[in-house]
Amino acid sequence: MSTTLRSPIIRVHLFARYADLLGVDHVDLPIDGLATAGDVVSRVQGLPGGRDIGIGSLVAVNLRQVPLHTPVVAGDEVALLPPLAGG
């Protein structure tokens, strides 16, 4: 059995430069030790290629941009957004 079936996770979507840095467009993180959006950012920064994710990054939870202290729970869809460049 996959551990993801027994261990609640948070799916983190990565975009643009961040997806290039980590080489994937999402990662599934076990919820253990993750209380806030900021915790999720820190965890992703610790992954291979994640060191350069940081200044200027925005965080969205369930499609809304949120402050880093926002609580997260298992099943939330988190996204790390590099500096926006639309328009």
């Binding site: 975009f15 200027g56 969205a60 402050p67 996204a79 957004l81 926006l84």
Partner: protein, 151 residues
């Protein structure tokens, strides 16, 4: 829904969506792909987005503008590969008078650039490519990165 488009944009069609006999003040903003950025010659670019959030934020910004000014609005942003001169973003605003149309249009493009999760990868004349980061010095966009929502 439907603010993002992988197909060519049609600003005239957008204006037709919001025009009405009583709306005598209309403003259209059309953003085109520029052939230079930060002193480099741009050959083409590709837009990508966090599509569900981008659609949601566009709807939110449009609703904000329509509640603040007595106007009707149509807005589209292009995704995918674009050549120089192609329409990247188009906003059509129609009000009874020009003041509200100008103000709403300016609000829409500024909030779009600040809040909608869209990214741009440029290809330069020498064949190199880079993600555009408006928070880096020397780039053309004046908005700086923010770590917390400002509202």
């Amino acid at each position: 829904m439907g603010f993002l488009s992988h197909d060519a944009l049609n600003p005239e069609g957008l204006m037709a969506e919001v025009s009405a006999p009583e709306r005598g003040g209309t403003v259209t903003f059309v953003g085109l792909v520029r052939n230079h950025h930060g002193g480099r010659q741009v050959r083409s670019l590709t837009y990508s987005a966090y599509e569900p959030m981008a659609e949601s934020v566009c709807a939110e910004i449009l609703a904000e503008a329509e509640s603040r000014w007595p106007v009707r609005i149509a807005l589209r942003h292009r995704l995918g590969a674009l050549e120089i001169g192609e329409v990247a973003v188009a906003i059509a605003v129609a009000g009874d008078h020009r003041d509200e149309a100008f103000e709403a249009c300016r609000y829409l493009i500024e909030e779009l650039k600040r809040r909608v999760p869209i990214w741009k990868r440029e290809t330069y004349a020498d064949g190199s490519e880079a993600w555009v980061d408006p928070t880096q010095p020397g780039t053309a966009t004046r908005e700086s990165g923010i770590e917390e929502p400002s509202r």
